[in-house]
Point group: C2
Chain length 202, copies 2
DNA sequence: TCTATTACTAGAACGAAATTCTAGTTACCA
DNA sequence: TGGTAACTAGAATTTCGTTCTAGTAATAGA
């Protein structure tokens, strides 16, 4: 998309407009889901024209993609920042659960967006997500590697760690977000953190 | 939908046709996702007319709904059947994990359908699902209640059991189905079953 | 300051895909 | 054997994402 890789830099007002569109879109997505909101909904909520939307984002999914990617990066950065303040494996594992729980409660709409499976990612976005995920997982494994080496954390198939540690809290949050049950995840945070630690401690 | 609540009973050939449509639709959904397949795709694959599809299912989502509901019921029945052959809490908890794993591997396409979030359920379908879920959860809790009472299984917030027991295997299967990693869940089945038991044993 | 370039806005036109409508045809029951 | 309702068929309509065309406005370079 030439329009999204301008040869001349963007104008100052552009960032503001994009941000306002993203905010409006997130509100719409939160209310009616991605598939349930039309371009017109977003257009009206953001007070801008169709042309403007397509100029900045290229497509409806482009908007969702940007929200999704921003959201994931925000979540990832927060997680790594939290981890770096931990002293050992136990603290780290429990921090992962706690941080996921806290972030989801603080960013309910965004969390709902990350859980929704109905964004048709473009090849470009898929590649970007893969890269983000690779970097993130790399950083996470690098952080935990020493704890595994010294025996504080069990040696397991690599694909097993994330489901064992984050699976329960993710599932709980997913159910909470979709209105399946009313009890916010704060209630089970430490319970699930303990369970996660039990599942992977050496 | 009057056409789906006929005042006169359905004809014998109807079930057959509906089944062939569902089969064709599942194949399409598995290949291109629910959003990625058109009514025409299904129509061609099932060798029937648009009118016929709408007569029997009311909408594209109606087809997806029926697959989804059939799938969930199949999964649930299998689970309960398996549980009833267990002698104690430990066997039961581990059976839940194992059965979910086995079923997902045996019914990959259906499992993918159950994990997909892009079916827009009608109010009617939502109600039906709620009812199915209520019955199922009721049966599950009834099965486990004695083990909790005798202390073999821990007392926990009710909403915590499912995520603690099934969260990890569900997350693992989800990642496997979406091609995130290539290792089939059989590899971690007993590992996750043990973890589940550890999380809830008394 | 003037001018060329390009970001940006706007909304009408277009096209694809879901759904509805109309016109039958076929099976079953009285 | 006639009436009724399930069922089939596909053309017409609608909805909605996207593209196109025609501008306006900011900025860089002369």
């Amino acid at each position: 998309m030439a329009s999204r890789n301008p040869s001349r830099p963007e104008r100052p007002a552009t960032l503001e407009r994009k941000a306002s569109v993203l905010e409006a879109a997130l509100a719409c997505f939160a209310k009616n889901g991605v598939d349930g909101t039309t371009i017109q909904d977003i257009q009206r909520a953001a007070n801008c024209s169709i042309g403007s939307l397509y100029h900045h984002f290229g497509s409806k999914d482009g908007i969702a993609e940007e929200l999704f990617i921003d959201g994931i990066q925000n979540l990832n950065h927060g997680m790594l920042a939290k981890l770096r303040r931990c002293k050992n494996g136990e603290e780290s594992v429990k921090a992962v659960v706690g941080q996921y729980c806290d972030w989801s409660m603080r960013n309910k709409d965004l969390a709902r967006c990350l859980h929704s499976r109905d964004i048709e990612f473009s090849g470009e976005a898929r590649a970007r997500l893969k890269e983000i995920h690779r970097d993130y997982i790399g950083a996470i494994y690098a952080w935990f590697a020493p704890f595994v080496e010294c025996g504080e954390v069990r040696v397991l198939p690599v694909d097993a760690y994330v489901p064992l540690i984050s699976g329960p809290i993710q599932e709980y949050v997913r159910r909470w977000l979709s209105g399946h049950h009313p009890n916010p995840p704060a209630k089970v945070k430490t319970l699930f953190a303990d369970a996660a630690w039990n599942a992977v401690k050496g």
